[in-house]
């Protein structure tokens, strides 16, 4: 296997992009990544996108977007693992470069979510849950995480204030990210005063509906050194993926996210790293409780300590392990297919030392964790500055 | 051959709306309704309860009391209702499927205003008596609607009763002693196709309709069976409100002691096809061996079916096996506001 580096990062401002169609936001992110990398062609394009069929009525997406940047002819594939589609697009691109099947790969993620109304968006997202036996009864994603939250609260004493602290922290980080959807100061009390969506989760415990795209360019490390132009070369040292039942009824332990734990184990093993080696992490905070559970599964904190850690500032910028310096899904936005790619874009930016006000000082090893549905899939990548 | 009820069950929705809650919305005098119709509150079906769901639950209770009858041996299912969820597509097939009765079974949905339930019972016991089927299920269930502001809105309620008939001597809880029907064409109450709410002839629904049919049917069956009112331990008549069944019962010569056990309407409302059958379940819940029971239904249009039952030694052994009707009526109630009621009954125009 060859060592693989990320030589280009493309991010655009996320939000409710009323003026722009999917193809445009995708192309803007793709072009930004290619320019950042200093390349004008690639051997492969991967596209992480959860549900273009339901959100914009478009399938056969990879061919369509390849053509949008004048790359008709280049192999292109859309991959899907619900909200972990972006992470999967990276993992597939990584495998192609590592194996030697491709040299340059454009890894992208995109979701255009605001062309449907809230009910249709909820339905589209809901298809990531077991539709026949769980969605059938009216459960929503906030509801599924709310059920897991209750188990976590009962087992560990996790509190709604601790969950709210996650949201407040991520909004504080988002204030420092010009690409974030929301630039809002949110306090713990604001979260607790917001509308109840699915008890015990409030509106401000939930990530928003977002239009957005993100892109990366991958290359073998040797090639990356040539193209780096003096910037740090960031390589992918670990990639792990795991699945779990998507029906909560089939989960053995509702207080755990087993796919996250397994994916992390695999990524740590490949990288030869342990949780305490990580300087900065982007994790899948689709709901505040998710960040608490994920930071435990990643081994940053023992089980039950994720909530207190958030409340005590251990995951804030300047804390022991800064989590979601980008603002996370909560503040940066959550265009589902784009999220996993944007997480890695943030880690690369951090490891290059280009994160500006939200820079985690001295960060040279970072981790990105992406998650599908209510934990039915998870993908973890470890990135390091190449020596 | 002796044919009888071998299992019975009732289902009462938990929600109720008080008379005052309805009257306040329309500026009506609640006290006059309470005195005049002897109504206090009525059952309200949840958004997830309909004739089919209540039929299934009532029938499951009938099977529990049947001493292990295999649903696959039931040869006929009749669901009587004026609120079948589909205008075209049977309720009974869903009920049969849920109970595990299908596919070797004769199924039909019946409608005859408030007497569709006793029609199903009549057909079920007749087929067993004829030897056509081993067991047969007759169900009366309704989630009836009165037009907002109409007098019917104070009474139209929801509930179900199910009766399993058979001829196995050792299973019979109450044998059918006699049956009798008295039917005319009397347009006292109707609902045209595609209409949401029924229309009625107001006071015309009284003497020429309810009282005339019930009186003739009850007298007819007593004459046929050679029985007098004092021979009965219990009698139950169709109960569109609290007042009518007691008035007709007394007119026929029954006492309050005979009538009160099956008299559910003051606190249940009018469950239409379920009304007199649910009263019968309340009687079966407490009846003792040897007791004679008179049941006379009434369906607008109009007709009255009557049954005389004699309780066997077995009944007391099964009464407690499933929820008692009076216990369901008196406990675990959820009182709703008129706003909730309007939402539950589909009276709010929703986004298309």
């Amino acid at each position: 296997m060859r060592d693989v580096a990320i030589i280009g990062v493309g991010m655009i401002p996320w939000g409710e992009l009323w003026e722009k169609p999917l193809r445009t936001i995708w192309a803007e992110a793709a072009v930004a990544a290619l320019e950042d990398a200093g390349v004008d062609t690639v051997d492969l394009i991967t596209v992480g996108c959860m549900s273009p069929g339901l959100f914009v009525g478009q399938e056969h997406l990879a061919s369509m977007v390849a053509d949008q940047i004048g790359m008709a002819g280049v192999p292109a594939a859309r991959v899907e693992s619900a909200c972990a589609s972006g992470g999967l697009a990276l993992r597939n691109g990584f495998a192609e470069v590592a194996s030697g099947l491709a040299d340059l790969v454009l890894v992208t993620g995109v979701e255009k979510m605001t062309d449907v109304d809230g009910a249709d968006a909820t339905f589209a997202l809901g298809t990531a849950a077991d539709q026949e036996y769980e969605g059938f009864h009216g459960i929503t994603f906030p509801g599924l995480y709310a059920m897991m939250a209750r188990v976590h609260m009962a087992r560990h004493g996790t509190t709604v204030r601790q969950m709210a602290a996650v949201a407040a922290k991520n909004h504080a980080n988002g204030l420092l990210n010009p690409n974030a959807q929301y630039h809002l100061k949110v306090t713990v009390d604001d979260v607790l005063a917001s509308t109840m969506v699915a008890d015990p989760l409030h509106l401000l415990d939930c990530s928003p509906i977002t239009d957005g795209a993100a892109a990366l360019v991958l290359a073998p490390v040797d090639r990356a050194r040539d193209l780096a132009g003096g910037r740090p070369v960031v390589k992918i040292t670990g990639s792990g993926m795991a699945t779990d039942s998507i029906a909560l009824a089939d989960r053995e332990d509702l207080g755990r996210l087993r796919a996250v734990q397994l994916a992390a184990e695999r990524a740590y093993a490949m990288a030869g790293r342990k949780p305490s080696d990580i300087h900065v992490a982007e994790v899948h905070d689709c709901f505040s409780i998710a960040e608490i559970m994920v930071t435990e599964e990643l081994g940053f904190f023992p089980p039950g300590e994720g909530g207190p850690a958030a409340e005590n500032g251990l995951t804030a910028l300047g804390g022991r392990i800064p989590v979601n310096p980008s603002g996370g899904l909560k503040s940066k936005g959550h265009p589902v297919g784009a999220t996993g790619v944007a997480q890695v874009a943030e880690i690369v930016t951090q490891l290059r030392g280009e994160a500006g006000q939200r820079q985690v000082q001295g960060a040279s090893i970072g981790l990105a964790q992406n998650m599908g549905g209510s934990g039915g899939s998870s993908i973890v990548h470890i990135l390091e500055v190449a020596s | 051959m002796t044919v009888g009820i071998i299992g019975y069950g009732a289902f009462v929705p938990r929600r109720r709306i008080r008379l005052e809650e309805i009257a306040a919305v329309w500026g009506a005098d609640a006290d006059s309704y309470r005195r005049g119709l002897q109504l206090h509150e009525k059952s309200v079906p949840g958004k997830d309860e309909d004739t089919i769901t209540m039929s299934v639950e009532a029938a499951r209770r009938a099977f529990v009391r049947s001493g292990g009858v295999d649903p696959a041996e039931v040869g006929a299912v009749y669901v009587g209702s004026e609120s079948h969820p589909y205008a075209v597509k049977p309720s009974g097939t869903i009920v049969g499927e849920a109970l595990g009765i299908n596919p070797e079974v004769h199924i039909a949905d019946l409608e005859f205003a408030c007497k569709a339930g006793t029609e199903g019972m009549y057909l079920a016991q007749s087929l067993v008596k004829a030897g056509e089927v081993k067991y047969a299920l007759g169900i009366g269930a309704d989630t009836s609607q009165g037009a907002p502001g109409d007098a019917l809105e104070y009474s139209a309620a929801a509930g179900a009763a199910a009766f399993l008939f058979g001829a196995d001597e050792e299973r019979i809880l109450a044998e059918v002693v006699a049956t009798y029907s008295w039917t005319t064409d009397t347009p006292d109450f109707w609902r045209r196709a595609y209409m949401h709410y029924p229309r009625h002839g107001s006071r015309f629904t009284g003497e020429p309709a309810y009282f005339r049919h019930i009186t003739n049917s009850a007298r007819g069956i007593m004459e046929k069976a050679g029985l007098e009112p004092e021979d009965f331990a219990f009698a139950v008549f169709h109960q569109p409100n609290g007042k009518f069944p007691i008035r007709v019962g007394k007119r026929l010569g029954f006492t309050m002691e005979q009538l009160e056990t099956g008299w559910l309407s003051p606190w249940l409302g009018n469950t239409y096809s379920g009304a007199s059958p649910m009263g019968l379940t309340a009687i079966l819940d407490v009846a003792r061996p040897g007791d004679l029971i008179l049941l006379t239904s009434f369906g607008s249009g109009a007709g009255s079916d009557s049954f005389v039952f004699r309780v066997t030694e077995r009944l007391p052994k099964v009464q407690e096996l499933a929820p008692l009707t009076r216990v369901q009526l008196d406990n675990d109630k959820i009182h709703v506001s008129y706003g909730e009621y309007a939402k539950l009954r589909g009276k709010i125009r929703m986004a298309e």
Partner: protein, 131 residues
């Protein structure tokens, strides 16, 4: 929306709670599966789930998905039945959702779940009511 064929196909599970029990390890699969997720066995016996159980965890969905607006708020619970099988169901007849708690005894009743609009097929199944 759910097609009539799909609704019809799922009737044994929805209407009668039919499941498959692995003859190898005893795991009950609801709905039935081709391969047992516990032991990968391929042989199953037909079983019907008990209708009594307890709440494992629950939530109150206050922003309902399509088709559930008139039923909202939706109290939804993960219920463990007496035989150990778990399933996701709505709670019905709960006067106050605050009273629902882990361990609460419930029983399953036949209820209307949803429908394909005003003119489409009605979906039936089971909901949990306080026992």
């Amino acid at each position: 929306m759910i097609s009539p064929a799909r609704s019809w196909r799922e009737a044994p599970q929805r209407y009668r709670l039919e499941a498959a029990k692995c003859t190898g390890c005893g795991r009950v699969c609801y709905p039935p599966r081709v391969v047992c997720p516990s032991c990968r066995g391929r042989d199953f016996e037909h079983v019907v789930l008990p209708r009594e159980g307890n709440v494992v965890t629950h939530t109150v969905v206050r922003v309902p998905p399509q088709g559930f607006v008139e039923q909202s708020p939706l109290t939804i619970a993960l219920v463990q039945l007496k035989d150990g099988t778990r399933l996701m169901v709505q709670m019905a007849d709960v006067a106050d959702p605050e009273t629902v708690h882990a361990g609460m005894p419930v029983r399953l009743e036949f209820r209307r779940i949803n429908s394909d609009g005003e003119a489409g097929v009605i979906y039936y199944g089971h909901k949990a009511v306080p026992a």
